[in-house]
Subunit: 451 residues, 3 copies
């Protein structure tokens, strides 16, 4: 018991050390970008992007936070750890991603850094879903720390080197987070954590979680369009809106089809309804026509519902992957679907349809040009940049490569992370403490004691 | 029992068939508008309208959704069916309204379609409130399907042919939804559904519902201003803000006045506080002066509180209209008040006060002009269009006509719909299943079963 | 009992009288500003400021509202009175502040009035937190009425006469509200209200309150940046984002450090995590570098956690100040910290770093100029105004003066208010009614009774 108290003192001490380290790193490496300083050139960005950013900020903290409260005795932890992970990752991912993009030896902060910080946080929250209720706060902290590193490396490879496109992060965020989390869950597998008596919801916790779902669903168009601008944002918003609608309708139907007595299952409604947003994420800004968005939303919803009903139990029985929130069904498989859709859609994308926006949607398809050609081109395409001159098929290949890379890096990263956090130093959880706030939170206390 | 299971299998089957039909209709009839395609002219719309759209999207899904959870055992259904209705209507109303506005044989999708889809969804949600807890999911689905058709027809008549103005949809959305729902409720009247033991709230369900109210209240300025731009939006926002404030204060006072022991009644706080937003809806963008907005907010709040206290029980006793959420008091009567206010306000509107904005606020009052006159006019009013040259009095008359039309179409539509959904094929509810999630949702389940 | 009923009838009667008075005052003194009328010059303001306004509107109504629901039996009152106070103050503060800024004998309404109304409401909500559960609705109403007057006077002195800057309102809103509320609480002190058996949370009420915290946390960047534009807004957003993150992480660590068995305390997570937003409020738009924001966030979080753990109980024991929500720890001390930071930061601010934005951030530092000089200057600084030609040190002094003034006015105002509301006419609460909805709300009622 004395040991236990000592052991648990590790969490606050390491956390405050980490925050201190972050402060030092910010002092040394970070400053404002020129858009946040006097004489900024781009003064409109804050007006056009901040409202959309705030939407995804709510999506993260409120949407994911509430979704994590579905367990009957684990609401404080679900909402609270979600909060902590967001805050930690917002700072840490700013640094990690900044290291790859320094100018004048400084990481340049502006609203783009905040957007990147939030997207990284989503990734870690997805992984958190896979291990919800089965890890100590120390394990979660360490997992967040390591995952951000892998996430940043993978994101940099896929976007900077492979030049794959993924505005809604279906692959780089959702699939990455899902398969990272699943591998961690595999390593931490404990058969007593499965069908645990506390791994259940109650009426009120299900209401809170469904409210979280609805916040996620409502703000998903902002999520899928935050990284693009103008017409591309408009298209991403429209595609996502209709994909979400189709996904929701389809999941209500399939949930009723596969559930006893044709009832609706709260698990499906809380989760699978969102799969359409993931499924359309990678191609949200492409010209897929509204029916393409609806079709993807439907397929995403079906896959996800089937995932919850049949594949999730199968993963436990067969592969010993116990995925508490079912992130494979909500983020993993729909993310792969999104990647496949992007391979098809990129392979079909031509100048006839996209006109000069082809080079905005797929920067790597911009022609390889010399400076004379550039001066000519820039007359027609103001933001033209010399590209790699890729063909549609090549771009499709790179989209495929990004998927493979993401699956490899996330599984490998999750495996390594799992083995590290499993060490007894990081307080792995015993079964009697799982899915229960009691051991980590002051529950039902008097507001304060004064004597 | 076998029959029952078969009967309930109808819901998912019809729902998936409907979603399949929607997909086919989208393939055949729907494409992007040119603002979502390369070479879009209007690239600013997404920046100015998307944040306001997201506000009303939250209002719909979160605000209405939570408001519907006030019943102690019907929270899953309230929140869940609200979600499903939104998604179904978003797709279906896009088609229905699009059919009236096709260009090049295609319905043109952009953010305006999303706004229209959401406004249609609000209408159906209002009607849903009148029958909450007393209809099967199949009946709800059918009601949504039919109501969208009537709503679209009425909207088209009132705005395109009558050229009545109603930026906040107090008549076309709220009053329409209310009287459609009330008529359906009348046809489905079952005396055992009244004062049913489960038609009650509990502490937590009332908290959820009040939270919904607050989301509705907060985002109402966006709702009343989404259809107008620039200065008109500014005015609509200011008017709505002060009307909402006055409505809230007035309802707290009147609730305490009419409630036993001067207590506050949660029903009033949850509902009547919003009446000011409806009451000011039709004239939100008119020059009614801030005190006009406050006066309307007060009158709306009083009418609505009295409605909940006295008229709602009277409707049940006398007309056998059992209106679960009291939509007559929240949406119906304040909507009629808004129409009356718009008749007065339109009748007083003159060029002296509105200057050239007269033709933006009331397009039908634009002069009938020939092309030479147009070229002159357009120098002063850049977006001038040839109008109908209506006088103030004529416009007032058409505002009145729109109210009458709306009341007629909604009651007629509700009557027809009521008789259709009452058929046994659509699984009318028996009393033992009313106001209870148990029969339609997996309640308090273990998260999943694996063996 | 008859007396009691009569006594309680005072609340609705006075409230409706007050709303009537507001209506008359609006008729006489209030009209639209020219930006809400035809021929408005500034048509962009609604597009750039309205989304940010809606964020703070949610922060007020939803964030504060839910935070006030943490008491197990006082959720209706927490959420409901928060709602009422907002609405009352929105109208009343519009008038009070308008009286100081009339043009052509009219108060000019536009979105700026709404922003000012909301900021005033936050101030009163902070004070409400100090007396939560211990005042009658009549006392609350009167407190709101009086506090708005003191708030407006203090704000006018500090910004117009002292020309101190405080974009996030850490001093003028948070510190003012806190010390006003604390003084009121001191005057109303009743030893039986302390450690009252109902002054406790329960599982669900803590979830609701934490959700409120998260809404506050998410929208705080909007709150700190609503009063500034362009680059200044961008900087305020970035600074606040990182300060909030650092604050959250630090509080999780310190909460675990100071709580028994290294558990996390819900009180700290619900409140102290927000202190970083207050601490950075006054200097949010200054060039403090990202590490400055993080440092302030950390210090704010530490001070606040220590405040909840040690200072709040000490205040009760020693000074008999019973502060229900701990507003001294969340708003008071972090507000003072913000003021100190602003003294330092203003004292260091120079033209080299701020360039011409120096005069936007600190208007009083603009040079004293004659009209010829003005014509020259305006070529480089389009919105140049003749200022007071203050030095950095002088500005620092005025920042200090604003803090002292705020502490003086708020304490004095609170003292006076406390003695007034303590009078028996305003229904002071007896212990048996404290922290309990039962006596003021219809609780767990049937939805309505018809016979």
């Amino acid at each position: 018991m004395a040991d236990d108290t000592f052991g648990r003192g590790k969490f606050p001490c390491l956390l405050i050390l980490f925050q201190g380290l972050l402060l030092i790193l910010f002092v040394v490496f970070v400053d404002y970008s020129k858009d946040v300083l006097p004489d900024a050139q781009n003064t409109l960005k804050i007006n056009t992007d901040f409202p959309v950013f705030q939407d995804i900020h709510v999506l993260l903290l409120v949407g994911f936070g509430l979704l994590m409260t579905f367990l009957k005795k684990y609401g404080f932890s679900g909402l609270g750890y979600n909060f902590l992970i967001c805050a930690v990752v917002m700072e840490w991912a700013t640094l990690m991603q900044g290291f790859f993009e320094m100018e004048n030896n400084k990481i340049q902060l502006d609203i783009d850094s905040m957007i990147k910080g939030d997207l990284a946080a989503v990734t870690i929250l997805v992984s958190f879903g896979a291990v919800l209720g089965k890890t100590s706060s120390l394990q979660l902290l360490l997992m967040s720390f390591i995952e951000v590193i892998f996430y940043t490396i993978n994101r940099t490879i896929c976007t900077t080197y492979l030049q794959a496109v993924d505005p809604g992060g279906a692959v780089l965020v959702h699939a990455f987070g899902a398969y990272f989390g699943l591998t961690v869950a595999r390593v931490l597998y404990n058969k007593n954590s499965v069908a645990h008596e506390k791994e259940a919801s109650r009426y009120t916790s299900d209401l809170f979680a469904t409210l979280g779902t609805i916040f996620l669903w409502v703000y998903w168009p902002s999520f899928n369009s935050i990284l693009v601008q103008g017409v591309l944002r408009h298209r991403a918003v429209v595609n996502t809106y209709y994909a979400m609608a189709a996904s929701c309708v389809t999941v209500f139907a399939f949930s009723s089809l596969v559930t006893k007595a044709s009832k609706l299952s709260m698990v499906h409604i809380q989760n699978a309804t969102l799969a359409g947003g993931v499924a359309v994420g990678t191609i949200a800004s492409m010209i897929i026509h509204p029916w393409g968005a609806i079709l993807l939303g439907m397929v995403g919803g079906i896959i996800s519902t089937i995932g919850y009903k049949y594949i999730q139990p199968w993963l436990i029985r067969t592969l010993h992957i116990h995925d508490t929130c079912g992130v494979n069904s909500l983020h993993g498989m729909p993310g792969i679907l999104a990647a496949i859709a992007s391979i098809v859609s990129s392979g079909l994308a031509g100048f006839g349809q996209y006109k000069t926006s082809l080079y905005t949607v797929f920067p790597a398809r911009s022609p390889v040009i010399n400076s004379t050609q550039y001066l000519e081109l820039v007359q027609f395409v103001p933001d033209a940049r010399a590209g790699l001159g890729r063909t549609a098929t090549e771009q499709a290949g790179y989209q495929c490569a990004a998927l493979v890379m993401t699956l490899a890096v996330s599984s490998m990263g999750g495996l390594i992370t799992g083995f590290i956090v499993k060490q007894s130093f990081f307080d792995p959880m015993t079964e009697d403490r799982m899915y229960d706030d009691l051991h980590y939170w002051e529950v039902c206390f008097y507001h304060f004691s004064i004597f």
